[in-house]
Symmetry: C2
Subunit: 316 residues, 2 copies
């Protein structure tokens, strides 16, 4: 099985990046590094029945397998360059692989990412991706740079992916706009690139907004206050869920792949200009404070907390 | 599950490599690249029931998951630097993970490889690794440089891993020396480094000696003749299998992770000196010829071919 599949992938992955000295076809890929850049590396797997329902459109699985990795590069302010793919398949299903590659390579082409290696194995359906990006030395966005007094920002409208998941799990009406946010998240690459040098800290929202902001705070040794009323809500989410439910989805739902970042108060105009230039909404949702806690605040200042357990990945 | 496990892995993966600007704990790893080097990247997964029997010692699984990737770097003549690990586990078994890390990190330490990222997911037991190495620009060993007239060499004693697999599948006597070659292959890193600039082409023997030599020939547009009598045989393999069986194991058995390489005839003394310096046997087993075929030859010149199907990976 392996050779045919690899030949198939190799044919479709032909790249025009000049820095790919050797792509698929040798023992390893050989890549030319530009001067003055640091290498940024991330790796995430999607398993059938855990990260996506078994019947998901393979093109969506392909897109998302790359997207969740590119989102990590975006959160570092890196420019994507190369990726590798380890695809585990229960059987050699050519049509499934072609459709998977349709989604995977469509997103790769959008960001000029070359697929340069990996393997195919027999096993339960799973796609593991390693993505490589480049960042100007010293300019990477990190989790540990948030400072008391910083504004807290988020891109897009968090909660949409969790809303789609909740609808799917309930088996009821399904909003295609929400489902698209779950199946085809948009890695915020341009935003991450533009924010490098402006934001003090950044993370991508994969575990849930409050949890991920908590990771930033823990790494930076600070706390945060989030104004619940300031959370940007999509029309689709507002139409599908009442205010209480929505709040949980927005604060504790995962899989958004938006960026949450902090920046000094004096940078608000620059952030607004970046949002405009990138065509991505950026909403100021709170501020960094001393201490170590993330507090979500009602309009009247009362604290609110999501239910202890937010949202799980798809259960088998 | 994921956070506890990642914290556990992070504690154990603390690295002293000065080029790891950020390791585990941010959205992605941040790595400093030295000047004048190209990046070498490879990715391979091991799935339970396919690449190893379900009951295999987790320390051996950890060792081998990294070893098969380092072997690819060796075949490129690269010096290993960093790796990432995606570990899929059916449940959070701390003891299994600790033992897995024992094997994985023991091999990593031997070659000064830093574990800088990855993820843990719930799913069928599987370990996917991406390994990164560095090679002086233009010095990488490739598959496509073999030339008619070159000698064909192999390190170590091919067939041992396949011998262990055959014993395991037959359920009979098991030789621990052979089993060690299956469970804990030795990536030929020092040999690969020393051969860069001397060998014309190289590959690691994972699919079987003749098949892998065939990959070199296909990439180089040449053929090869292998003298069956010249194949180096370990004492353990000689003791456990008769000559006919042994020949099949040596020519078509996989999982050896030895290097097969070609070099000009004028380089024999240098290759012998490298073998001596690295403490690794290097045996001259044939030569590169015009054409496109790999021929295995008996002493009297008759051609021999292994059964159409050599050895499969472990079946579920």
């Amino acid at each position: 099985m392996e050779f045919d599949l690899i030949a198939r992938i190799r044919r479709r992955a032909a790249s025009v990046r000049g820095d790919v000295v050797l792509g698929i076809g040798d023992d390893a890929a050989l890549l030319a590094m530009p001067a003055g850049r640091q290498l940024v590396v991330t790796m995430d797997a999607l398993n059938a029945g855990v990260h996506f329902p078994a019947g998901t459109d393979p093109a969506d699985v392909g897109w998302k397998a790359l997207a969740v990795n590119l989102s990590d590069l975006a959160a570092m302010g890196a420019r994507p360059a190369w990726c590798t793919l380890s695809l585990s398949l229960p059987n050699a299903d050519d049509a499934w692989v072609e459709a998977f590659l349709d989604g995977f390579l469509a997103l790769a082409a959008r960001h000029d990412v070359a697929l340069v290696g990996g393997d195919t194995t027999r096993g339960p359906l799973s796609a593991c991706v390693t993505a490589h990006g480049l960042v100007e030395t010293g300019r990477a966005l990190r989790r540990d740079g948030a400072r008391a007094g910083d504004d807290v920002w988020v891109t897009g409208t968090p909660g949409d992916a969790a809303g789609a998941l909740a609808q799917w799990q309930a088996g009821g009406a399904r909003d295609p706009a929400l489902r698209a946010r779950l199946d085809r998240p948009t890695p915020r690459i341009e935003a991450g690139l533009a924010l490098a040098g402006i934001a003090h800290a950044a993370i991508d929202v994969s575990d849930g907004l409050l949890a991920d902001l908590g990771h930033v705070c823990a790494a930076s040794g600070v706390g945060a206050e989030v104004a619940l009323d300031a959370l940007p809500v999509s029309a689709a989410l507002a139409a599908a869920f009442d205010a209480d439910r929505r709040r949980v989805l927005q604060c504790a739902g995962g899989d958004d792949y938006e960026l949450c970042f902090t920046a000094a108060g004096g940078r608000r105009d620059e952030v607004a200009a970046i949002a405009e230039a990138c065509g991505v909404a950026m909403s100021r949702i709170g501020r960094i404070v001393d201490g170590g806690e993330v507090a979500a605040l009602e309009r009247d200042g009362r604290r609110w907390a999501p239910p202890r357990r937010g949202f799980e990945h798809f259960a088998g």
